[in-house]
C-alpha cells in the first residue's frame, strides 16, 4: 500500500480518474436533461456502445478523430429519434423501451464489428492530451487537472452549460415543468411532446458523445465495450439528485474509483484473482449511495409517465 501514496501515483490516479469520468459525465448529463423532462432512458448503454463502434470505425478507416466524434453524435441523435418516437409519440412504457434500445445497440454494434472489422485493431491515433498553456505547468496540479483531451474539457464545460440551460432558459423551465406536472404545462400551451422529444435528443446525443469519448480515449473496440457503463450513468443521475453538479460529482467518484482499481491492479497490490472483486466496487458504491439517498431526494414527479391528454 505504501507505494500507492506517493505524490506521483496520486497525481496519475487523479488525472486518469478525470479522464475515465468523461464518458460517465457526458452520458449522465444527457440523461439528467431527459429525466428532468420526465423520460427515463435505459438505452444509454446501448446507444453508447453503438456510437462507440461508429466512432471507432470512422477513426479506424479515416483516421479523423473529429469526424469520428461527429458520427457518434449523429448515431446518438438517430437513436434518440427512435426512442422519442417509441416513448413520446407512441406512449410506450419507458422502462422496457429503453431495455430494447440497449439490447439493440449491444447486438447491432457487435454484429457490425464482426462483419466489418473482425479482429480488433487499435485506431491509428487516440484523443491527444492538450495542456492548457500556463495552468498545465503548475507542478502536480497541472498534470492532474490541466493535461486532458478536448472531450474531457468539453464534458466538464458542459456542466455549467446544462445548469444554465435548465435554470435560465425558457426551454429549461419547460423541461422542469413537463417533468413535474405535464398537465399543468400543457394547460398553458407548453408542448409536452416537443419538450420531451428535444430533451430525449439532447440526452441521446450526449450518450453518443460518451461512446465516442470511451472508444477514442481507449483506442480500441470490442463487443460490449461499455460493459454496463451506461447503466451506471443512469444510476449517477439518481445519485446526483437530478442535478448537473450531482452528475459531475458522481461521475468523478466513479472515474477515480476505477482509476484506483486499475492502479492497484497494475501494482499487483491486489491479486489478479481478486481483480473481479475490485471491479465490483462501482456497483457496490452505487447500491450504497442509492440506499443512503433513498427518500432524501425526490425524483421528477412525472418520471417514466407517458403523457396523454384526457
Amino acid at each position: 500500500m505504501s507505494q500507492f501514496f506517493t505524490l506521483s501515483v496520486i497525481v496519475s490516479v487523479v488525472a486518469s480518474g478525470i479522464r475515465l469520468a468523461t464518458p460517465y459525465l457526458l452520458a449522465s448529463l444527457g440523461e439528467t436533461i431527459g429525466q428532468r423532462s420526465g423520460v427515463l432512458n435505459l438505452g444509454v448503454d446501448g446507444t453508447m456502445v453503438l456510437a462507440a463502434f461508429a466512432a471507432y470505425y470512422t477513426a479506424l478507416k479515416l483516421d479523423n478523430l473529429w469526424l469520428a466524434v461527429f458520427v457518434a453524435f449523429l448515431v446518438g441523435l438517430l437513436i434518440g429519434v427512435i426512442y422519442a418516437l417509441i416513448t413520446v409519440s407512441l406512449h410506450a412504457a419507458q422502462g422496457i423501451s429503453g431495455i430494447g434500445i440497449f439490447l439493440f445497440g449491444l447486438g447491432f454494434s457487435d454484429l457490425l464489428f464482426q462483419v466489418w472489422v473482425g479482429t480488433p485493431l487499435p485506431i491509428p491515433s487516440k484523443l491527444p492530451p492538450l495542456g492548457i498553456p500556463g495552468l498545465s505547468s503548475i507542478p502536480q496540479l497541472g498534470d492532474a487537472l490541466f493535461r486532458h483531451n478536448l472531450m474531457t474539457y468539453g464534458a466538464f464545460l458542459l456542466v455549467p452549460v446544462v445548469i444554465f440551460l435548465l435554470q435560465k432558459t425558457t426551454f429549461g423551465m419547460n423541461v422542469r415543468a413537463v417533468g413535474e406536472n405535464p398537465q399543468a404545462a400543457d394547460s398553458l400551451g407548453v408542448s409536452v411532446e416537443r419538450t420531451r422529444v428535444v430533451a430525449i435528443l439532447l440526452g441521446s446525443s450526449a450518450a453518443g458523445l460518451a461512446g465516442a469519448a470511451l472508444v477514442l480515449q481507449g483506442g480500441i473496440f470490442q463487443a460490449n465495450l461499455t460493459n454496463g457503463l451506461g447503466f451506471i450513468a443512469v444510476a449517477i443521475v439518481y445519485f446526483g439528485a437530478w442535478r448537473p453538479l450531482g452528475a459531475m460529482a458522481g461521475s468523478l467518484l466513479y472515474g477515480v474509483v476505477n482509476a484506483i482499481v486499475l492502479q492497484l491492479k497494475a501494482q499487483g497490490t491486489i491479486p489478479r484473482s481478486a481483480s473481479d472483486l475490485a471491479a465490483m466496487a462501482p456497483a457496490v458504491i452505487t447500491i450504497l449511495a442509492l440506499v443512503f439517498l433513498a427518500g432524501r431526494v425526490k425524483a421528477p414527479a412525472a418520471l417514466t409517465k407517458p403523457f396523454t391528454r384526457h
Binding site: 435560465k168 432558459t169 425558457t170 426551454f171 429549461g172 423551465m173 419547460n174 422542469r176 415543468a177 413535474e180 406536472n181 398537465q183 399543468a184 404545462a185 400543457d186 394547460s187 398553458l188 400551451g189 407548453v190 414527479a301 391528454r309
Partner: protein
C-alpha cells in the same frame, strides 16, 4: 357592472330570468350536443355569460359540466351546436388557444408545478421578452402589480410547494389575470378552502366582475352557489334542467333540479341516548408524510350512539388521525387509542377489526376498495378468511354470492351484477359497496373519512341515512367530513382540529358556521384560547 357601451346583443336570452339583459353577452354556447359511445354527455345545452356576472354551472358528477367546459377549451369538439365569443363564432382546438382568446380556467386540481416558483409557474408557456432566456424579473414585477390590484398577495420568488392551498389558488387566478383572461372558469374553487378563505375568494371574484370580467362558477355547494351567483344553470344527465337566479330559488329547489326528485339536504337526526365511551383517544401523536408531527397530542372520546365530526382545513391532521385509529399509520410512543377498553395503538389492523372497528377510507379507490376486483370480491375483502367464506383454505363461492347479493340489495348499490369490477361503478356506488362491507361486520366503532366526497347527492343522502341509522343502533362514529355542512348536519359533537390539535369540541346545537370557521383558521377568542376540555358526554 359595466355600463352599456355596446349595442344590446343579449337578446338571445331575453326570456331568461334575471336582470341586466342590457349588459353585453361575452360567451354564448348554443345547442351544444356531445355524444360518447353509449353516453349523451351534453344534449342541446345553452349557456351564456354576460360581462360582469357570475354564472354558476350546477350539476352532479357526470351531469355534463366538465364535458361542456372541455368543449369550451377545445379539448372536445361538439357534435352539434356552436360557441360564440362576443358575437363571433369561436373555434378553439387547444387550451392555449382559449387563453389567447381571453378565456382562462382555474382548475379544481391546481395546474401548478410545485417545484417551480410562482413567477416560473406564471411565465410558463408565455413568450419571453428575452428570447430563449427567461424573463422572470419582469414577470415578477407584473405579478406584484396584479396581486396588488386584486388583493391576491403572494411572493413571486417562492416555490409553489411551500404555499398554502389558498395561496396556490391565488397563483392560479394570477396566472389567468396575467394572461388577460376576460372570461374565467372556476372549477370547484372552494373545495379546498376554509370558510374564511372562501369569503376572501368571493371578495376577489367580485372585484373581478366589477371590472367587467365574466365568471363561470362550477360548484355543488348550494349555499355558496346561492351567495355568489348572478345566474344559475343546472345540468342533469347532460341536459339543462333549469336556469334561475338566487332570489327566485332555494337550495332545496336547486337540489331537486340537480337530482330530479326532492332531496333531504339535512338529515333527520332523532335523539339517541349516548352510551359508554367506545373510542377513547389520549395524547395521540402521529407523524405526517414528511416526518413532522401531523397529530400532536389529541384527546377525544366517542360514545356509542354518537357521531363526532372533525372540522378542519384539510392538512391539519384529520387524515392522519383517521389513519392512526384505523391502523394505517404508526402512532408515536405514549399515544393511547382505547377501543372498547382495549388499547389498540400498537395493534395490527386485523386485531382492530376483530375488536369492532370499521373504517371507510378517504381514499376510496386505493385504500377502500380494489378497483380491478369485482363488487363481490370487494364486499368480502375484509372477511374472506372468516369461516363462513373459507373452508380449509378454499373460498366458499356460494356463501360469498349470497352475502354479496344481499348486501347489494340492502345498500341499493347500482351495479349490473356482483361480478362487475368496482372501477366501473360510479363514486357513489363504490362508496356504498365499501360502506356495506364495513357495516356488515357490525362494528361498534366506525371511522368514516370523506364519505361523500365526489358522490352524487342521491347517494350522499343515502350514505348519511345509513350513518344515522348506525348511530341509532349504538355505534360510535368518528367522522371526517367533506365540508362544514356535512359536519354540522351529521355530528352530535364537533371537534375542531387546527395544526394537529383539537382546539375545541362543540355540541352541534351550539355550532355556528362562523365560529367554527374561525377556529379552523386558528383564530381563537379568549374563551377558547386553549383547547376546550374534552368530556365524554355529548
Amino acid at each position: 357592472m359595466s355600463t352599456m357601451d355596446q349595442p344590446d346583443i343579449a337578446k338571445s336570452d331575453a326570456g331568461s330570468p334575471g336582470s341586466g339583459s342590457t349588459v353585453p353577452v361575452m360567451l354564448e354556447m348554443k345547442g351544444i350536443t356531445k355524444r360518447f359511445p353509449g353516453v349523451l354527455a351534453n344534449s342541446g345545452v345553452d349557456l351564456d355569460v354576460r360581462e360582469g356576472e357570475v354564472h354558476t354551472l350546477l350539476g352532479e358528477n357526470g351531469a355534463g359540466k366538465s364535458t361542456l367546459m372541455k368543449i369550451l377549451f377545445g379539448l372536445y369538439r361538439p357534435d352539434e351546436g356552436e360557441v360564440l365569443y362576443r358575437g363571433e363564432k369561436l373555434v378553439i382546438t387547444s387550451p392555449s388557444e382559449a387563453i389567447d382568446a381571453g378565456i382562462g380556467m382555474v382548475h379544481q386540481h391546481f395546474m401548478l408545478v410545485p417545484t417551480l416558483t410562482v413567477a416560473e409557474n406564471v411565465a410558463l408557456g408565455l413568450k419571453s421578452s428575452r428570447g430563449v432566456l427567461t424573463d422572470l424579473a419582469a414577470v415578477s414585477k407584473r405579478i406584484t402589480e396584479i396581486s396588488e390590484a386584486h388583493g391576491l398577495h403572494v411572493d413571486p420568488a417562492v416555490e409553489v410547494w411551500r404555499l398554502s392551498v389558498g395561496e396556490r389558488q391565488r397563483v392560479e387566478i394570477i396566472k389567468a389575470l396575467y394572461r388577460n383572461a376576460k372570461l374565467l372558469v372556476l372549477d370547484e374553487p372552494t373545495a379546498v378552502l376554509t370558510p374564511q378563505e372562501v369569503d376572501d375568494l368571493f371578495v376577489i371574484l367580485r372585484r373581478m366582475t366589477a371590472e367587467g370580467r365574466g365568471l363561470i362558477f362550477i360548484s355543488h355547494k348550494l349555499h355558496e352557489v346561492m351567495a355568489l351567483s348572478d345566474r344559475i344553470t343546472v345540468l342533469r344527465n347532460g341536459r339543462v334542467t333549469g336556469q334561475t337566479v338566487p332570489a327566485e330559488t332555494s337550495r332545496e329547489q336547486l337540489a331537486e333540479m340537480m337530482v330530479g326528485r326532492a332531496v333531504k339536504l339535512t338529515p333527520d337526526r332523532p335523539p339517541v341516548d349516548a352510551g359508554v365511551p367506545r373510542l377513547v383517544i389520549r395524547d395521540l401523536r402521529v407523524s405526517g408524510d414528511r416526518g413532522t408531527g401531523a397529530v400532536e397530542g389529541v384527546d377525544l372520546d366517542v360514545c356509542g350512539g354518537e357521531i363526532v365530526g372533525i372540522a378542519g382545513v384539510s392538512g391539519n391532521g384529520q387524515r392522519e388521525l383517521a389513519e392512526a385509529v384505523a391502523g394505517l399509520r404508526p402512532t408515536q410512543a405514549g399515544s393511547h387509542i382505547m377501543l372498547n377498553d382495549t388499547d389498540i395503538a400498537r395493534c395490527d389492523t386485523r386485531t382492530r377489526r376483530d375488536l369492532g372497528l370499521g373504517y371507510v377510507s378517504e381514499e376510496r379507490m386505493t385504500d377502500g376498495a380494489i378497483a380491478e376486483f369485482s363488487v363481490r370480491e370487494n364486499l368480502i375483502l375484509v372477511d374472506h378468511g372468516a369461516e363462513k367464506f373459507t373452508k380449509r383454505g378454499l373460498l366458499n363461492f356460494k356463501a360469498i354470492r349470497e352475502q354479496s347479493e344481499a348486501l347489494v340489495k340492502r345498500f341499493a348499490v347500482k351495479t349490473p351484477s356482483i361480478d362487475t369490477p368496482a372501477a366501473s361503478l360510479s363514486g357513489g356506488n363504490i362508496q356504498k359497496v365499501i360502506l356495506a362491507r364495513e357495516l356488515s361486520a357490525e362494528p361498534t366503532v366506525m371511522v368514516v373519512a370523506q364519505p361523500t366526497r365526489g358522490v352524487d347527492i342521491g347517494s350522499a343522502e343515502y350514505i348519511h341515512s345509513q350513518l344515522i341509522a348506525q348511530r341509532g343502533v349504538g355505534t360510535a362514529t368518528l367522522l371526517i367530513p367533506e365540508d362544514l355542512d356535512e359536519v354540522i348536519g351529521l355530528s352530535d359533537r364537533i371537534a375542531v382540529m387546527f395544526e394537529g390539535k383539537v382546539v375545541a369540541v362543540i355540541p352541534s346545537e351550539e355550532a355556528e358556521r362562523d365560529k367554527i370557521g374561525l377556529l379552523m383558521a386558528g383564530v381563537f377568542d379568549d374563551e377558547s384560547d386553549e383547547p376546550a376540555e374534552v368530556v365524554a358526554e355529548p
